[in-house]
């Protein structure tokens, strides 16, 4: 797997974004590496969602570059992001309750033979994808999504994202609504995504989750990158300080910058 010194799979350089007079992102640098989980942490309003929406092509950036495999790319819409292999699993899962697992995973991208749906292919491929992720909690891919638990739904949403040969999977608060056991399942799945060669971005408020699965941590503080560090180099309390104050010891923003923004 690519080390941190190698070329990042996805790299954002000096991204700026304003909504009217509000400057939301200040010269943000952000990197995602193949086979690694990068946690994106920050308080509410720090700019996590805006950053992700820039990557997803929902918001255009005001200035800065997006590099994919070291090459500059333009992402002007969700389709551009999908074409590059960037898939986002949103917090509200965007599954249709009245359809089954296989139908949901192929929704909008159904495989057809002539005019007829190729159910055999889709059912097998859905099962293969879940098996590849070592998902063993599902009884049948022909189960309606309405009958699934929260963890199983999250699993289906993630599997849907990797079905399409995706390179980067961005997970927005995947464990926010889950119980302890289900959180464990989903975190194991997040780890497996990285092991199967995806670049994974995990947005989370939960420090336990972050330290359990993340290789790198990028902390945002009021629209600036406070720190971009290896998870093994920092402690939990340091990260909390970075999130709440923008600095921790010699890590983080210069004291003057941090203070002026508060």
């Amino acid at each position: 797997m690519t080390s941190e010194n190698g070329t990042p799979l996805l790299e954002l350089q000096q991204i700026n974004k304003s909504f009217g007079a509000v400057h939301v992102l200040h010269n943000v640098d952000f990197s995602v590496y193949t086979g690694q989980v990068t946690a994106l942490v920050g308080d509410n309003g720090a700019g996590k969602s805006t950053l992700i929406k820039c990557v997803a092509g929902i918001h255009p950036v005001d200035s800065g570059y997006i590099l994919f495999n070291g090459e500059k790319v333009g992402i002007h819409g969700p389709r551009d992001a999908a074409a590059l292999g960037i898939e986002i699993v949103y917090q509200d899962l965007a599954l249709a309750d009245n359809l089954d697992i296989a139908q949901n995973m192929f929704l909008g991208r159904e495989r057809k033979r002539g005019a007829i749906l190729d159910e055999a292919y889709m059912e097998q491929e859905a099962r293969n994808t879940l098996a590849r992720l070592s998902v063993r909690t599902v009884k049948s891919v022909r189960q309606q999504v309405a009958s699934l638990s929260g963890g199983q739904r999250q699993t289906v949403a993630i599997a849907k994202a990797v079905l399409w040969d995706s390179k980067v999977v961005i997970l927005d608060e995947p464990t926010a609504a889950l119980g302890v056991a289900q959180t464990e399942q989903v975190l194991a799945l997040v780890r497996r995504l990285a092991e199967t060669g995806h670049g994974v971005v995990l947005i989370s408020h939960n420090m336990n989750d972050v330290f359990e699965v993340a290789d790198r941590i990028t902390a945002l503080f009021l629209g600036r990158v406070a720190a971009d560090v290896k998870a093994s180099d920092v402690t939990r309390s340091q990260v909390v300080e970075l999130i709440t104050a923008g600095r921790s010891g010699d890590l983080g923003l210069a004291a003057s910058t941090a203070a002026e923004n508060i």
Partner: protein, 429 residues
């Protein structure tokens, strides 16, 4: 891939509970476990066609007991089927609209206007029947497009849009036909739709083609699923379903092929053309909803429009096109109703037609909340509605009682739907 899952499943089953690792997909399902699954589905509020079938059996038994010599007579069965035609067809169009969680209150009147257009072209302009029919269907299509556009693009609730159309279209009917008037329909083809029967031999050939095709598709589909290792119902269940449907088709054909003329001199028998029309519509709609990506998208938009949008489905177009389908089928229904009366009237579709059709769809198992329903629901529910009307007629029930009883049935069906939905959301997660 199948090798690895198979080699892993025994090991997994040692550690994990039975409900894991695609157990249900890989094991050959037994009849008892399939029945158990069905029981679970029923208890979780997914009643499917059960209420309609129970309703048919109970009502059929009741009316047979009360009017033994008339209710099950050949004449009455054929009569009942023809009575059921307009409501059944209208309900089939409404199934599409209901699948989105929308409603089309103007569907009945849309049929009325389409029939008025057809009748005017036939009788006053002397156009051939196919042009008139095309114009009638085009009228429905256009009404559906405008309705769908107002709902999907402007975002007006469908309830309001179609209520406005319900009134407005009655005006158009009146303008076309003239106050208090009727336009007679004398064209042989249009009149035959609800008044003539298919030649006996052709009826039998069609019945056997249907039976062979249905059995072939069912068994071949099962075999293909088995060889590819896909999830499938037990073979016994597939065979039972094929046998029951085949018996219904052949039994119905045999019944309808007998002479039901009151006079011994003439022969009157065969499947009514309208029944064939319903069968064709049923096959087309079932195929569209179940086998095509477009049908899948309709279910997705009805289940979770936001999920559909994020999956790249053009939700606006799905909405507009569904109203177009619903209104076009409503136009067919209006034409069949006019054929039965041999005339177009300005008040066609303004009375109980729409409510009966909504009731038929809901009794058949289509949800008013969207995302759940099948084309066959319209046929089953339409039969229930027709049996009620027909049976009460035989009993000589007064008009007020017919209204009360039919209204009660609609309310009952809607209550079952609402309770089932509550049940589903309670047990769903």
């Amino acid at each position: 891939m199948s090798e690895s899952t198979q080699s892993e499943s025994p090991r997994a089953s040692d550690v994990l509970t039975q409900d894991t690792a695609f157990e249900a997909d890989l094991r050959e399902q037994s009849v008892s476990s399939a029945l158990r699954d069905y029981g679970i589905r029923l208890r979780s509020g997914d009643l499917g066609a059960l209420p309609a079938i129970l309703g048919l059996v109970v009502l059929g038994a009741l009316f047979t007991a009360l009017r033994p010599e008339t209710f099950l007579s050949n004449q009455n069965i054929a009569n009942l089927l023809v009575q059921a035609l307009p409501v059944t067809i209208l309900a089939m169009g409404l199934v599409f609209v209901l699948l989105l969680g929308e409603i089309d209150l103007a569907a009945g009147v849309t049929g009325g206007v389409s029939a008025a257009v057809l009748a005017t072209l036939l009788s006053e302009q002397g156009q051939p029947w196919y042009l008139a029919t095309l114009a009638g269907l085009g009228t429905g299509l256009a009404i559906g497009f405008v309705t769908g556009w107002l709902v999907a693009v402007l975002g007006i609730p469908s309830f309001v849009v179609t209520l406005a159309f319900f009134l407005g279209l009655q005006g158009i009917s009146l303008r076309l036909i003239g106050e208090g008037g009727t336009v007679p329909i004398n064209d042989d083809v249009i009149v035959a739709l609800a008044n003539k029967n298919i030649p006996l031999v052709a009826g039998w050939i069609l019945a056997w083609v249907c039976v062979i095709a249905y059995a072939g598709a069912g068994l071949f589909g099962w075999y293909r699923a088995k060889t590819k290792g896909l999830s499938r119902p037990p073979l016994a269940l597939v065979v039972t379903r094929v046998v029951v449907v085949s018996l219904l088709i052949l039994g119905g054909t045999s019944l309808l092929s007998q002479d039901r003329a009151r006079s011994p001199v003439v022969f009157l028998g065969g499947i009514p053309w309208g029944v064939l029309l319903v069968a064709v519509l049923l096959i087309i709609c079932t195929f569209l909803l179940g086998k095509t990506a477009y049908g899948r998208h309709i279910y997705a938009v009805g289940g979770n429009a936001e999920a559909a949008r994020r999956a790249g489905i053009n939700v606006t177009w799905v909405r507009i096109s569904v109203f177009m389908i619903g209104s076009t089928i409503a136009a067919i229904s209006g034409i069949v109703a006019a054929s039965r009366l041999n005339s177009a009237t300005p008040d066609a579709g303004t009375r109980t037609e729409l409510l009966l059709a909504v009731g038929a769809a809901v009794i058949g198992g289509t949800s008013l909340f969207g995302g759940k329903g099948k084309a066959r629901d319209a046929v089953l529910g339409g039969l229930v509605i027709a049996v009620i009307a027909n049976g009460l007629g035989l009993l000589g029930a007064k008009a007020y009682a017919q209204f009360l009883i039919t209204g009660g049935f609609l309310l009952l069906a809607a209550s079952v739907d609402a309770l089932a939905r509550r049940r589903r959301s309670a047990t769903g997660r």
